[in-house]
Structures are given as structure tokens and as C-alpha cells.
């Protein structure tokens, strides 16, 4: 049986680049909003570019919130990217205050403009690994560079969930977060050249377990 990976389609952002990155790894992922397909898969990716409130609204309209919570109950591997990471938190403060999926306890806030040069952060920044043994970063040297585009970042309450830290201006933020079988990166691995591809490879390998 080929590995069954789904990318959740909720009309937020560039799903195709993740699809193509997986295809490069010989994985034919499904881009879908179909609850059954999502629940039946070996691993799920929650992508996203855009605003927190809009994204939660789309997930709600498509009735995907209970589906994602079911994935957590089933202990299915779930990988959030960028906005997909934000949504995993309890609350987001992008253009208002919004409830998140509350899978990772904590909040998503905007960079303090007195502590950083420009908002959004656009470009390559390094990630300092906090847990070398984590499966997601195997084969990747510590402090490797990844591609970021964001104005907001998440702060997990439980610091043990921090797998990677990144410094922008005077702010150090959590750029890789993980809890049980849920993993997420603030950066875009699909746009981060070979080490980004390695992150997807590691996720795919995890899904095979």
C-alpha cells in the first residue's frame, strides 16, 4: 500500500508547493477537504497562508475542526506549516482575538515593532535545535537556515514542546513546535531547499511507522 498523505484544503494559500515537494519524494498526496479521506490517511498536513481569523472561519465552514480534533484522538501524525502552525494554538491575535484549535496551549502574537527591523520577517533565518533527537530534524545540521514569511509567532505554554528557536531582531521565538504526534514549523520547509525537503522526508518516514 502506498503511503496515504493528505493536505487539508480550506482555501488558504499555496497547497501546490507542498504537494510538489512531496511528489519530489515520490509521495502522491491528496489535496482535499473530504473528512473521510482526511481521517483515513497515514498523515495529514495543515498548510496555510493568510490571516488567523479567516482560516478558522474556513475550517469551521467546512466542518473540519472536529475532524482535526479526531485526528489528535486517533494519534495520527499532523504537520502544521506557517499559518497551519498558528491554528494549532489556543488563541490568535491577528486582526482581533480568535479561538484556535487549542491542540498546543499558548498564544499567537505579532512581532513587537520596537524590537524588530521590519514586519513581516521575510527571508532565511537559522533554527537552533532544542532537542537533537527529535525525528523531524534528523539529518539536518543544527542552525541550518529555513525560509520564513510571517508577522506573527506562537508562544507555547509548555517549553518542552519547543523543538527549534529562531531569533528575529531582539525576539527569540519558537520556530518548530511538537506535542505527541503533532508537529509544526513557522517556516516553509517546501521553500527551504534541501533541508526543508529533509523535514518532509522525516515526516513521511514517521508516517510510515
Amino acid at each position: 500500500m502506498p503511503l496515504n498523505i493528505t493536505i487539508i484544503d480550506y482555501e488558504m494559500g499555496n497547497l501546490k508547493s507542498i504537494y510538489k515537494c512531496l511528489k519530489h519524494l515520490n509521495i502522491e498526496a491528496k489535496i482535499t477537504d473530504n473528512p473521510k479521506l482526511i481521517l483515513d490517511s497515514d498523515g495529514v498536513i495543515l498548510p496555510g497562508v493568510g490571516a488567523f481569523g479567516d482560516a478558522m472561519m474556513h475550517l469551521k465552514e467546512k466542518n473540519l475542526i472536529p475532524i482535526i480534533k479526531q485526528l489528535i484522538k486517533d494519534n495520527k501524525p499532523l504537520f502544521g506549516v506557517c499559518l497551519g502552525l498558528h491554528l494549532l494554538y489556543s488563541k490568535g491575535y491577528e486582526m482581533g482575538e480568535f479561538e484556535g484549535l487549542d491542540i498546543i496551549q499558548g498564544e499567537v502574537i505579532i512581532f513587537d515593532n520596537s524590537k524588530v527591523d521590519k514586519i513581516p520577517q521575510i527571508g532565511w533565518n537559522n533554527v537552533e535545535f532544542q532537542n537533537d533527537k527529535h525525528f523531524l530534524i534528523q539529518g539536518i545540521p543544527n542552525n541550518s537556515y529555513f525560509y520564513f514569511v510571517h508577522s506573527f509567532y506562537g508562544i507555547p505554554k509548555n517549553k518542552e514542546q519547543v523543538v527549534g528557536l529562531t531569533k528575529y531582531g531582539e525576539i527569540e521565538f519558537c520556530s518548530i513546535v511538537s506535542k505527541d504526534n503533532v508537529f509544526a514549523t513557522q517556516f516553509h520547509p517546501e521553500k527551504s531547499s534541501k533541508y526543508g525537503i529533509q523535514i518532509y522526508q522525516n515526516f513521511v518516514d514517521f508516517c510510515k511507522r
Partner: protein, 272 residues
Amino acid sequence: MPLTKRIIPCLDVTEGRVVKGTRFINLRDAGDAVELGAFYDDQGADELVFLDITASSDKRKILIELVERTGEQVFIPFTVGGGLRTVKDIKEILRAGADKISLNTAAVKNPKLISEGAKIFGAQCIVTAIDAKRVYVEAPEYAKDKVIIKIDNDRYCWWEVYIHGGRTPTGKDAILWGEEATNLGSGEILLTSMDKDGTRDGYDLELTKAFSERLNVPIIASGGAGNPQHIIDAFSLGKADAALAASIFHYNEYPIKIVKQECKKSGISMRL
């Protein structure tokens, strides 16, 4: 180790093939665009820019195919520009897999295209490309409605925006236009010096610096790169966030890796 400065090879394309213009004329073929893009990714390029110089809407299909194919082989961000005139054009290119689009002539003629694009797709994917050319004046008071910069040898100048691939002067001040584009929601400026483009004797550092100091978005310096020192100067003296170059990379005269190593040696933050 903070956010790095970016090195961006630019691929001028027509019908899926790369060409490089010298001062916007004398085109010569330099290879398959996707293959070259993947090669640059492998070499350590931080981003790519594809500029479609045919820029005619009947050839749009070929451009979209190029974007689709690029996404299959290139795993760094890439920007696509050239002849995009409407929100529909922008949508097609982004849907095909580009991370950003750049607007030039169309944005000058219809600045609302920037705000509409930014509102729908996000400021981070709308790049305004500005082709700027120096206009020297004897003294600042001779051009009161322009941003005059004092340059070397006690000379003064402002920069005029050109459109239609550098053929048509507009009378518009480039710095003021840059500020307007940013206010409308453009997330980045791709700034080309027409005086320097194709000369290979360095970027227009005064132009780059003037933009970097005034605008609150990343500035991509373009036009004039002939060796690694020019790129170092664009970052250290021109205060650019990214440096774009074409011919010095295309013929592997200065491989990207070498350029990045030279930059790092000079104390510039680089992804190696």
C-alpha cells in the same frame, strides 16, 4: 545569526528559455529556465526571479507552464513578473505555483492593482519592480517636487521611473513612487538602476541606499553587478536586503557559492 541577506539570480525568459539583455537590448540565449533554476537552488541561491520579457498575453500559457514546471524542481521561493496587468493575471501565476509576482508598468498605470493584489493575496507576494534612471540637476531647488539626493562631486540628482521595459520615461519620481507602492501594500521593491544595468561596474549605491533608508520594506538591488565586491557593496553601502544579478551567474563566472563566501568574509549574514 540573524535574518540573512539574499542572493537572487534573475532569469529573463521568453517562451520558457533564458535570455539576458544588455541595457535591455541585444538578447542572447543562456539555457532552459527550469533547469537553470534548479541548478541555482542547488548552488545556494536564496530565491529566483523570472522576468518574462515577451510579456504578451497570448504567450501567457507558456509562462504558466514554466511556473508549473519550476515548482516541480525548484524548492526555494520564486517571483514571476512581466506583462501582468490584472488581478486575474496575478491569480493565474500564483495558482501555478509562484510565491510572489512583480508588477512594473501596470502598477504605474494603475496603482490600485497593488492594493487589490495585496488585499486578496497578501502584501508578501506583491513585489513592485521599479526601473529608475538618474536625472542630474544643478541644484536641489531646480526640481522641487522630486526627492533630490546629493551624490559624489557635489552633484545632485533624482531618479525618474521608466516603464515598458525601460523604453518610456514617466516623469515620476522613483523614490516617491516606491513610497506610494509600499503604502498601497507592496511587500517588497525590486529596484533596477537603468544607468547601471548591463554595465557590470556595480550597483547604483546611492539609489539603493536612498530606498533602503526611506522605505520600510525589503529592497532588492538590481542592475550593474559585475563581481562579488559589487554585491558586498550593495549590502554594506547600499543597505539592500537582497541583491539580484544575472549575467555573472549565468555563465558561471562567479558561482553563487563563491559570491556568498565572499560576502560572509566581509561580515555579511549569509546562508551557506
